[in-house]
Amino acid sequence: MTAVADLNDDVARVALDLPLRANLSALDNIALIPLYQRHYGAAESVQQAQAMLDQMGHAEIALLRDPDMTPAQRFVTKLARALILKRPRLVIDRPGAMLYDVPYPAFIRQLATQAGMTGTWEIFDFSWNQALYKE
């Protein structure tokens, strides 16, 4: 698992050890990326973040902060943050540790099939969970 944490800079990771900023809303956590990396204005960054949540079908979590989110909502926010990074690879690291309130292979599959989702998502999971993905 150390190998996953050491993946290089062209990988956007969604992992338990990369939490959200606890005192920011889901929207602000996502908007940080366009704001600081691409130097968009605050309004434009928030708009991009909202568009990302809309696209994922979870617009309702925009104003929630980390402690107020369910594990699934937290995962969606982390995934949106990773997607807005626009890196060539997206790695979901041990999803079972983050998505313990939903049948997670189906949940991730459903998110991946939302309109406009591009690229390949790689899932790093324990071998004994492999059976879950075959359902």
Binding site: R13, D17, L18, P19, L20, R21, A22, N23, L32, I33, L35, Y36, Q37, H39, G41, A42, R81, L85
Partner: protein, 264 residues
């Protein structure tokens, strides 16, 4: 012999610890200073966070702070006036009021106020960010924590302490006038002359520098103490305790050095 050796060893460890902490603080300050000079730092995002910090540190508490300043100033002015009357030194009362309150006591109390309210909050927040890996997550997303989290707090702290101490000083001078001369303009000329005599360039520059150092102490020390926290949740209270002790000693040291430079 063993006792002596272990005492020396323990003292040495402590001294090395102090130097490490001081080095960490100065290195952090140097990094922040360099970043301040970098043009790319001054984007809209950093500016917005600075404004937010000033709001949370200074504006949000303004009414409580002014009320507290009013009470303290009124008490001190009353004590100074009655003592001056007892000793027949009424003509020095206004100068003494300004020197004691505006130059020394109010900036010191402002720094303590901000340290207890914002410094402790900053220390706790940074320590929790460190323990919860939030800083690593920001680094993974290439959001610079220095620009987004720390620099705005330092700038906000300095601006807040300087402006709050300035406001408190103005309020105290107004109260001093009212207490000494009452509600009339008879004493306006002698009072403003006393103010002009005290506030020469050197004193003003020293006062602003002292308040800026107070502002830096109440934000820089909690940030660095928070960053030193080992990644264990139970260490957060220890980090806040250490940070706030350092803030207290730094504020006292700044005040002592300022007094020594002025009066010795």
């Amino acid at each position: 012999m063993n006792f002596l050796a272990s005492s020396i060893e323990s003292l040495g460890t402590k001294v090395v610890g102090w130097f490490t902490v001081a080095y960490g603080m100065f290195a952090f300050l140097a990094q922040a200073g360099l970043l301040l000079l970098d043009r790319t730092t001054w984007n809209r995002a950093t500016f917005d966070v600075v404004i937010k910090q000033i709001y949370f540190t200074a504006v949000q508490i303004l009414h409580v702070f002014l009320g507290y300043t009013l009470v303290i100033s009124w008490l001190i002015i009353t004590i100074i006036l009655s003592t001056a009357r007892d000793f027949g030194l009424t003509e020095f009362a206004s100068e003494m009021t300004i020197r004691v309150l505006v130059l020394e006591l109010l900036p010191f109390l402002t720094a303590l106020f901000i340290a207890l309210r914002s410094g402790s909050a900053i220390n706790t927040e940074v320590a929790l960010m460190q323990v919860n890996n939030e800083l690593d997550a920001l680094a993974h997303c290439k959001v610079p924590p220095m620009q987004f989290e720390f620099l705005p707090r330092l700038i906000g702290g300095v601006i807040s302490v300087v402006t709050l101490a300035g406001l408190a000083g103005l309020l105290a001078m107004l109260m001093g006038y009212l207490a000494i001369y009452g509600i009339n303009t008879a004493g306006f000329e002698p009072y403003t002359q006393t103010i002009a005599k005290i506030f020469d360039f050197e004193i003003m520059a020293g006062l602003i520098a002292k308040c800026a150092l107070f502002g830096l102490a109440v934000t820089l020390i909690p940030v660095t103490a928070g960053l030193e926290t080992p990644k264990k949740l139970f260490m957060v209270p220890v980090s806040v305790l250490r940070g706030m002790m350092r803030v207290f000693f730094a504020i006292v040291a700044i005040e002592v050095v300022s007094l020594a430079l002025k009066y010795i």
